[in-house]
């Protein structure tokens, strides 16, 4: 399964798409990430990730309505595919498994 693992940023974008369902599009995702994590990401980074994940089949997209604020250009709405859901939950399970295997003592040690 080498190479199919989600990158950290991709996972973040994927989760955001889920959050915004069904109206996840470029600027919206960017702003949501900023609002929730405080990370300033650029539009092109978001698009690059979206493009890559769409090629991998994690998300799919369709064109929506045109608005004047976008200069008459249509939005592209993204939704997570079944494969995307699977990858997300796999990632989540991996994390949880890791969390679970950390001995309790680790959390009790005072590092100061």
């Amino acid at each position: 399964m080498k190479g199919t693992n989600l990158g950290e940023f991709q996972e973040l974008v994927l989760l955001t798409i889920g959050t915004l369902y069904p109206e996840a599009y470029g600027v919206g995702i960017k702003e949501e990430i900023h609002a929730r994590t405080g990370r300033k990401v650029t539009l092109s980074t978001v698009h690059a990730a979206l493009n890559r994940m769409e090629k991998k089949g994690l998300i799919k997209s369709e064109l929506g309505e045109a608005t004047s604020i976008r200069g008459g250009k249509r939005k592209r709405y993204f939704t997570i595919t079944a494969y995307g859901i699977k990858m997300l939950s796999e990632a989540k399970m991996q994390r949880e498994a890791l969390w679970d295997s950390i001995p309790d003592i680790v959390f009790q040690v005072n590092y100061g």
Partner: protein, 866 residues
């Protein structure tokens, strides 16, 4: 929520940029997102910020995922590949033709590479000086009598004071002066270093990189600044500040050390001596105030930050008439920017390197002509070859190729040919570089290194050449109509469009004739000059620089060497570029003019076999320090009737009265480019100048070796400086010899290009008319008829070319080249006819050969495929 935002128009330029590079399937979405962000920013932070971020966003999206494949989508990739394939197949199909083309173009490109490299190198001279843009040289423009205006790089140091004090525009003034003794001693070591005197400001005006000492190092008298390699030669180390050295016999203190003078500097030296040392060892008037001392000093001014120099030029222009009262001489000073000096036209009294402008223009012109010839050649051959490709074009058109695509294909082929040629051109360039360097004045400073800028220029030139020379053939071919091509008559129709071919061929043949004639004429002129009777005999004579040693001692010692016949003494050597001239007149002071002169001892005239027309020469016991021997021109200039009548007449010369002791036939005391003027020999009265040693005409004995051995035993400290007269004459005609060699090599190159072109053309013509020739043969035509038939159009071209080229050669050489030589050959039928003859023979042989080889084919096999 959306209604809160008003739509604003984003900047157009980045928008267009985005639309250009972005993948079409992503474009709408991305542009919309950027636009939306833009509008939000606009309302939040204002127009400027929003526009700025629009730019940033567009630039940020320039990432692999969003960029469409510009090259692949625009120019169809498959087509590009196929075009390349076709181009190479075509090259392979006709190897002879391709080689001709590639060779011709690469020769032309190699010549232009040489020219470009030379130009580039010359223009980068002196650019390392920090104030390059603000430095100007003061030069002197002199107009004597009716001689042409002469601009000298040197000037007088008397200007220094004015320049330093009277001009607010001038920041600093640097001055150089020749005359530093080259014998340098330090730590028991003695060697020769080339030095210049320089004033205090020199090191701050010019940015020669300092290694030690300050830029004020030349302020004290008897200070010297050494270059790194001079220091290590003298001391074997470079930590030399404060050391004492002896220059001539004066002590000097080393006050500075600079890096070796960069190769690209027109001023070259190994040491700089402070100009303030000058006062202490010059006799007579100080050069700092003597306006007539203007042949050894050089002044450079540095203006304040790009100040205009107009006013300085005006004031300097008037200064001449204030300080020079000679009515026959008008003198002006003027400024020349530092950047122009290396390529400038001022090669009188240069301080160092200068590449004469006329020679530079000459190289440029030759390169341009060769390039144009090669282009013509390509166009011509391609046009000729287009016969063979009409079917290809027709087929392509029939299956839907557009004119533009065909145009592209043919241009592309041509560019490939020229790029192949360029690689060969680099090879030729490297092989011929050294030979070229020996033909131009380089002073070992020019190396013709390639740099990336030159490679870029060469690439641009090559591609342009490829496109230009393909333009016409490509146009003709791509405009063919499919139906025209597929019907029988196409080649006739195509032929009609080939008038240009004839025009180009005429020019090629004409230029070839011009070049052959030119090379022959210049060579003949060189031979003429070498063989020209100078009016005196130079055979077996060796000139030796006495370097101030006593002539009588020298003669006593050297006469005993076996093989030596006679020895005489002269102030300098005739025909070596040295000359002296003073004002003088016969009986009327109003006739005053320059009389050239040479001081000699009594044996001189006899030894050189001057032809005495009257009188006795200096051998007469009556001859005294007041005697002169004049030439025939002298009599003519001053209206003396006959040589006999002139003997004993008094003349005024060099502010004294002399009596004519003898008259000699006119002779050439200068190169043959100079006209003979009045001349007077005087008796030499001091121990300087040269010994003229006449050897017995035995031929086999090496006199030079014997002279050298003797010199070294007599004067062990002084360098042996002698040269056989014939070598000196060769050297003084060097310029013409070089011109002759350059023209000869260019002639050869352009001739090869043209001849190969004609060869290719005739071959194609014969092939294209294969059917006609075969049918004529079958019907009983003889070879000579066939040859004549095919030659007809070429004969016309040849006659036209000859009719244009011959008068052009005559005019060109008479007007511009031979007129520079007061004594020159007259153009005759052989000089003017040679080129035409060679071309005619070549055409005749080529055509007969081609027709023969075509008509030898068995008629059946020749006609089967037609």
């Amino acid at each position: 929520m959306k209604q809160r935002f008003k739509n604003h128009t984003p900047p157009r330029l980045p928008q267009r940029l985005l639309r250009w590079y972005c993948k079409p399937e992503l474009a709408e979405d991305i542009e919309g997102d950027i636009h939306e962000d833009y509008n939000k920013r606009y309302n939040r932070s204002g127009r400027r910020t929003a526009r700025f971020y629009y730019w940033i966003d567009v630039i940020r999206f320039f990432r692999p995922f969003a960029i469409k494949n510009i090259f692949k989508t625009r120019v169809n990739n498959t087509m590009f590949r196929i075009n390349t394939l076709i181009a190479f197949r075509n090259l392979k199909k006709n190897p002879g033709y391709s080689l001709t083309n590639i060779f011709g173009l690469s020769v032309a490109l190699a010549v232009s590479l040489l020219a470009i490299t030379l130009l580039y190198e010359l223009h980068s001279f002196d650019a390392f000086h920090e104030h390059e843009q603000e430095i100007y040289r003061v030069q002197t423009n002199v107009k004597y009598d009716n001689y042409p205006l002469r601009t000298e790089a040197s000037t007088t140091l008397a200007l220094l004071n004015y320049l330093e004090n009277d001009f607010p525009e001038i920041e600093k003034v640097a001055a150089f002066r020749f005359g530093v003794d080259d014998k340098v001693k330090a730590n028991e070591k003695s060697l020769r270093l080339s030095g210049l005197m320089a004033n205090q400001a020199t090191l701050s005006v010019f940015s020669f990189p300092m290694l030690a000492g300050s830029r004020e190092a030349l302020s004290e008298p008897n200070s010297v600044v050494l270059t790194e390699s001079a220091a290590s030669k003298l001391f074997d180390k470079t930590d030399v500040l404060g050391e004492l050295i002896e220059i001539g016999s004066e002590p000097y203190k080393v006050t500075g050390l600079i890096e070796d003078v960069p190769r690209k500097s027109h001023i070259q030296f190994e040491m700089l001596v402070s100009l303030s040392s000058l006062d202490e060892y010059t006799e007579g008037g100080s050069p700092l105030s003597n306006w007539n001392d203007r042949f050894q000093s050089y002044i450079y001014i540095q203006t304040g930050d790009h100040e205009p120099i107009q006013r300085i030029n005006e004031v300097l222009g008037e200064m001449g008439s204030e300080h020079y009262s000679n009515p026959q001489m008008a003198l002006k000073f003027s400024l020349e920017p530092l950047g122009n000096i290396a390529t400038g036209g001022v090669d009188n009294n240069p301080i160092g390197f200068v590449f004469p402008t006329t020679k530079l223009r000459f190289v440029e012109w030759l390169a341009a002509i060769v390039v144009i010839l090669a282009c013509f050649n390509y166009t011509n051959l391609t046009l000729a070859k287009s016969f063979g490709r009409t079917k290809e074009v027709g087929t392509r058109k029939a299956i839907g190729a557009k004119t533009g695509q065909l145009l592209g294909q043919f241009t592309f082929e041509s560019v490939i040919v020229s790029l192949l040629s360029l690689s060969l051109a680099f090879l030729i360039f490297y092989l011929s570089k050294d030979a070229f360097l020996t033909l131009i004045p380089t002073r070992n400073l020019l190396t013709l290194e390639l740099s990336w800028q030159i490679v870029v220029m060469a690439l641009a030139l090559t591609i342009t050449l490829g496109i230009v020379s393909a333009l016409f053939p490509a146009f003709v071919l791509s405009r063919l109509k499919a139906i025209e091509v597929m019907t029988e008559n196409h080649s006739n129709r195509l032929l009609k469009r080939q008038n240009l071919r004839k025009v180009l061929l005429t020019i090629q043949v004409g230029v070839a004739i011009l070049f052959i004639n030119g090379a022959y004429i210049i060579h003949a002129q060189y031979e003429f000059i070498q063989a020209h009777d100078l009016g005196y005999n130079t055979d077996d004579i060796y000139n030796l620089n006495l370097q101030g040693n006593s002539f009588e001692t020298f003669r006593a010692e050297f006469s005993s060497i076996p093989g030596i016949d006679q020895i005489s003494q002269s102030e300098f050597v005739t025909n070596s570029g040295s000359a002296a001239a003073y004002y003088g007149y016969y009986d009327n002071p109003a006739d005053s003019t320059y009389i050239f002169s040479l001081d000699v001892n009594p044996a001189y005239l006899g030894l050189h076999e001057y032809r005495l027309l009257a009188g006795t020469g200096f051998d007469d016991p009556d001859a005294s320090g007041k005697s002169v021997v004049v030439n025939r021109e002298f009599l003519e200039q001053f209206g003396l009737e006959s040589p006999q009548q002139a003997i004993g007449e008094a003349i005024h010369f060099h502010n004294e009265i002399y009596f004519i002791q003898g008259v000699v036939e006119n002779f050439h005391y200068e190169r043959l480019s100079y006209e003979i003027k009045p001349f007077a020999f005087r008796l030499i009265g001091h121990d300087s100048g040269f010994a003229n040693i006449k050897a017995e005409p035995s031929g086999t004995i090496d006199i030079m070796d014997r002279l050298k051995t003797k010199w070294e035993t007599l004067y062990p400290d002084q360098e042996f400086q002698a040269i056989p007269y014939y070598q000196l004459l060769e050297r003084s005609n060097r310029g013409l010899l070089n011109l002759s060699q350059i023209i000869r090599s260019i002639t050869l190159l352009s001739l090869i290009i043209s001849l190969l072109g004609i060869l290719g053309l005739v071959a194609y013509d014969a092939r294209a008319r294969l059917k006609e020739i075969t049918i004529r043969k079958v019907l009983g035509a003889e070879l000579k008829h066939l040859v004549f038939k095919l030659s007809k159009s070429y004969l016309l071209v040849f006659l036209l070319a000859a009719a244009l080229a011959i008068p052009l050669t005559a005019w060109n050489f008479d007007e511009y080249i031979l007129q520079r030589y007061s004594y020159h050959i007259n153009l005759g039928i052989s000089q003017l006819g040679l080129g035409a003859l060679i071309l005619f023979l070549f055409l005749a042989i080529t055509i007969s050969y081609q027709v023969r080889s075509v008509s030898r084919k068995a008629p059946l096999s020749a006609l089967r495929n037609q």
